[in-house]
């Protein structure tokens, strides 16, 4: 009885969705996030539905399978604007009535009418044990090495203040929502300072996602302003020809009052003579109708991140129009195996 009541309550909540965004899927997911029946989650552990939106690269399929298994039961996968990847369970596809379709699947899942999807991969480490070192992990003493294929922390020179801490290499992406979709970053961090960065694969192309209001909306959640970000996304929707013009005056006041510009350190993320604050100001001017363009420049995302602290690095990675970010991830020393 209690379980039935809880199921009923859960089914009436917005569907907790983790978006795995592929090529040209970003604008659609951002539009979906405005629907009250859907609640996008930042961690797969907090979601019940995996929504794959847009075509996924062949090289990212293993990551998608791992991501699928990270969702807690009960879980289901939805495919939107893409064909299901082979190997996934019998799939639900989402058509044009996307929010309603998502809600319908969530209701069936929460009430038990739809069974939870089983794991796709065996529950074991990604690589076998490497029997080297004092403890068989392949490093020195008790640290370092790559036990089970994952790099372990080891004391290293510090690039910032001389305080030598354990350097730890973390691989992020391609489906981590705090990074642009498709972007893989390999960061070596000491504490929360980025020591070195590599870009194993660039983000997906996102046609029609360069709207300045959308660019601002992608930056704001990282500053703790999820509500304001939603307002910016809605305003960006409102710029579509069939809808009324958004009230930019009120939006600008809310942005200034939030202190977002002050929160961003001056000089952070400088690229082509324009730091992050200047980019935010330019986006706002563009939204108000100014005829501005991003300044031309060549560079590499991997060179912009070392020395930054974690949240600054995340701000920088999210501070470029998708097209410019793709250029920043294509060339330079940070370009890795391209897989």
């Amino acid at each position: 009885m209690a379980v039935t009541g809880a199921s009923w309550l859960a089914a009436s909540a917005p569907a907790p969705v983790y978006p795995a965004v592929g090529a040209d899927g970003l604008a659609a997911v951002e539009a979906l996030s405005l629907h009250p029946a859907v609640s996008l989650q930042a961690s797969p552990r907090h979601a019940s539905l995996l929504l794959v939106c847009g075509r996924i690269r062949e090289a990212d399929r293993p990551a998608l399978r791992r991501l699928h298994d990270q969702l807690p039961h009960p879980r289901a996968t939805l495919w939107w604007r893409t064909e299901p990847v082979p190997g996934f369970p019998a799939a639900s596809c989402v058509g044009d009535d996307r929010a309603d379709a998502v809600r319908a699947v969530w209701r069936r899942l929460a009430t038990g009418a739809l069974g939870s999807e089983a794991d796709l991969l065996p529950d074991e480490p990604p690589a076998p044990w490497r029997g080297k070192g004092d403890h068989g992990q392949g490093g020195e003493g008790m640290t370092g090495g790559k036990p089970y294929g994952r790099p372990m922390a080891m004391t290293d020179e510090d690039c910032r203040d001389g305080l030598a801490l354990d350097a730890y290499t973390a691989r992020l992406g391609p489906f981590l929502p705090i990074l642009p979709p498709g972007l893989r970053l390999e960061l070596t961090i000491q504490g929360d300072a980025i020591q070195s960065a590599r870009v194993p694969s660039p983000p997906y192309p996102q046609a029609g996602s360069d709207d300045p209001l959308r660019c601002i909306a992608r930056l704001l959640p990282l500053l703790g302003l999820a509500g304001l970000a939603e307002r910016f996304r809605r305003a960006a929707q409102g710029r579509a020809p069939d809808l009324g013009a958004p009230d930019l005056g009120a939006l600008g006041r809310a942005l200034r009052r939030s202190g977002a510009l002050y929160a961003i350190p001056p000089g952070l993320g400088g690229f082509a003579g324009e730091d992050l604050r200047a980019r935010l100001r330019r986006w706002w001017a563009q939204a108000e109708g100014a005829d501005l363009r991003a300044p031309p420049g060549e560079g590499c995302l991997a060179d912009l991140l070392p020395g930054l602290e974690w949240s600054e690095a995340m701000l920088v990675a999210n501070s470029f129009e998708p097209e410019i970010l793709m250029r920043l991830c294509r060339a330079g020393p940070g370009d890795g195996d391209g897989s």
Partner: protein, 308 residues
């Protein structure tokens, strides 16, 4: 008052307060997003709770399982212990300690440990970064609160929360030392991992210390956070807003009303203001807010010396 009645009062206020705080938080988010708050927001916390309870609890690879269980439990206990020294009416207090403020200070300091353990226990990078980032910010934030609370205790010439409330019968501490109230509210945001002071469970870490928590474990952590929020609102109401003092209504009603106002202010602040990157916040804390708290303390000390 008997121990059983005291505990019933404490956990009763905390449970209802946590539900109200969760609803207010949703309303504040809706307002920040330019939507109109709906009555359904009162049910939303229960819906979210149901989702958590039906969901599988994920076990990460080689977690520190004991500390993973202890972290939310201790967080909740710290919230309860902190609130136990707050009087709801003259004599209506669970633990009328002579040094109640010191107990509250201990609860604040241990919150840093509990949040770190929560980040530590998952054995995953994002929660761990959230954990030690919180420790870095927690140290100056808790230091600041010591100055602020001592300044609030000075006019009462006592460390007992009941005495501090009594000392505000004519004029509230919020009027006597307004910067103290603002600083204490900032500390409240930090203690409950919210908005501009959320360095542990922040969005730039995909949920930080909670990023790997799912199902009942996630529910327990969220409930503990909300309980701490209620505790902070009770302490703010008692120490700065005159506690149970007020005309016409009975003391406890005033106390609850003031708590609701503080909850609403904290919910609004959560969604209104941007979070500074930690390095920038550390500079702000050490160079501006800490000296400000010390100045408040010095001014109140001078006032007490000269005029009382």
């Amino acid at each position: 008052m008997s121990a059983a009645a005291g505990l019933a009062l404490l956990f009763g206020v905390m449970a209802v307060g946590a539900w109200l705080a969760a609803a207010l938080d949703r309303a504040a988010l809706a307002l920040a997003a330019g939507r109109r708050p709906a009555a359904a927001m009162l049910v939303a916390p229960w819906r979210q709770g149901a989702i958590h309870l039906l969901r599988q609890r994920i076990r990460t690879e080689r977690p520190d399982a004991m500390n993973g269980l202890l972290a939310p439990a201790c967080y909740l206990l710290l919230a309860a212990a902190g609130m136990s020294v707050v009087p709801f009416a003259p004599g209506l207090v669970v633990a009328d300690l002579d040094a109640g403020i010191v107990l509250w200070g201990a609860c604040e300091a241990l919150t840093v440990v509990v949040v770190f353990l929560h980040g530590w226990s998952a054995n995953a990078p994002l929660p761990l970064i959230g954990g030690y980032r919180y420790v870095a910010i927690g140290l100056p934030a808790m230091l600041l609160s010591m100055f602020v609370l001592i300044a609030a205790a000075l006019p009462a010439q006592s460390l007992s929360v009941s005495a501090i409330v009594e000392s505000q019968a004519s004029v509230w501490n919020a009027v006597r030392q307004p910067p103290g109230l603002v600083l204490f509210l900032m500390l409240g945001l930090s203690l409950t991992l919210r908005g501009p002071f959320d360095y542990a469970d922040a969005a730039d870490l995909a949920g930080g210390t909670s990023a790997e928590a799912s199902g009942p474990a996630q529910a327990a952590w969220q409930v503990a956070r909300l309980a701490m929020l209620v505790s902070v609102s009770a302490m703010t109401a008692a120490v700065f807003l005159g506690g149970y003092h007020g005309p016409w209504l009975p003391g406890p009603a005033w106390m609850l009303l003031k708590m609701i106002v503080v909850l609403a202010v904290l919910a609004a602040a959560t969604h209104m203001f941007a979070r500074l990157p930690p390095a920038r916040m550390l500079t702000l804390l050490w160079t501006l807010l800490l000296p400000l708290s010390f100045l408040v303390l010095a001014l109140v000390g001078a006032e007490v010396l000269l005029w009382s």
